[in-house]
Symmetry: C2
Subunit: 167 residues, 2 copies
């Protein structure tokens, strides 16, 4: 349940946003919230030199424009998902359709179309090996246009960052 859109998928048919241009103040606000999503508007205001209300309005604008979203991110292992993997797919024909189909799957947390020996990369989050096996054989590989897949089972998640800063 609870299908939530990702940050950057503007292919889902939602209303298009006017791509706000970020000034230095907004970038600083973003960076502060990348460290602590619950930081108070007042303390942010003190750091960037605006009033509390102005910061609040900016944050609201950034959220509505989908420039950022403030959420809890979890360690998959600690919330009951024992198997993660990256799946590389080679596709003949329209890879958009394949990407869309993958995007629609609950177990798929990440889909990107790439230039390289794989056309699409998808990260999947499964509860166990059987779950992963079923997902791969019954639902991913049969997708029309998929000519080959290669699965990279995660052994260890070394780094997982959500805050790259801003430029």
């Amino acid at each position: 349940m609870t299908t939530i859109r990702g940050v950057a998928n503007n292919g889902g048919g939602t209303t298009r946003k006017p791509s706000v241009n970020l000034d230095e103040v907004s970038k600083t606000i973003i960076e502060l919230l990348q460290h602590d999503g619950r930081k108070s508007y007042a303390s942010i205001a003190a750091e960037v030199g605006l009033s509390e209300a102005a910061v609040r309005q900016r944050v609201q604008r950034l959220l509505e424009a989908d420039v950022m979203q403030i959420v809890a991110v979890t360690d998959p292992l600690q919330v009951g998902f024992q198997r993660q993997a990256m799946v590389g797919l080679r596709v003949s024909g329209d890879m958009t359709a394949v990407a869309d189909a993958l995007t629609a799957m609950d177990e798929v947390s990440y889909v990107v179309t790439t230039a390289g020996s794989f056309d699409v990369l998808a990260e999947v989050v499964c509860e166990n090996d059987n779950h992963l096996l079923e997902l791969l054989t019954s639902r991913i590989r049969p997708l029309p246009g998929v000519t080959a897949t290669e699965t990279f089972v995660y052994l260890k998640l070394n780094k997982q960052l959500y805050n790259w800063g801003t430029r």
Copy 2:
């Protein structure tokens, strides 16, 4: 600046956490915060049937145990990063050292050691093509033990989820 740890790296030398076991209430709290990281404790309490203070204590515990973190996640394209790529690496010898070296790089947002034809997968976030090129040729490929790399430049980010729910 401000190198922030990821969620799941317990290899960085930080204090070990006692891996809290999650009951249904905590899972519900997490799922609510996965939708809105700024949701008030009071409204969460109303939904899970606890007092506001109890919810606050649980959230604090979850944060300290690194089960989750509440942060702002951004759309890389909208904050000035034009080039993203997944880099697959083949490594001879100790892949832990390679993974650690990648983890230490600011441009690297994601590092995972895998079982498959690649030993390590790393996602990199760059400002432009020159930046990506420099990173690959001068800093990633020369790493000791790296025998081959393959780069998948992102054409389109289709899906990017941070909330898989809980099991």
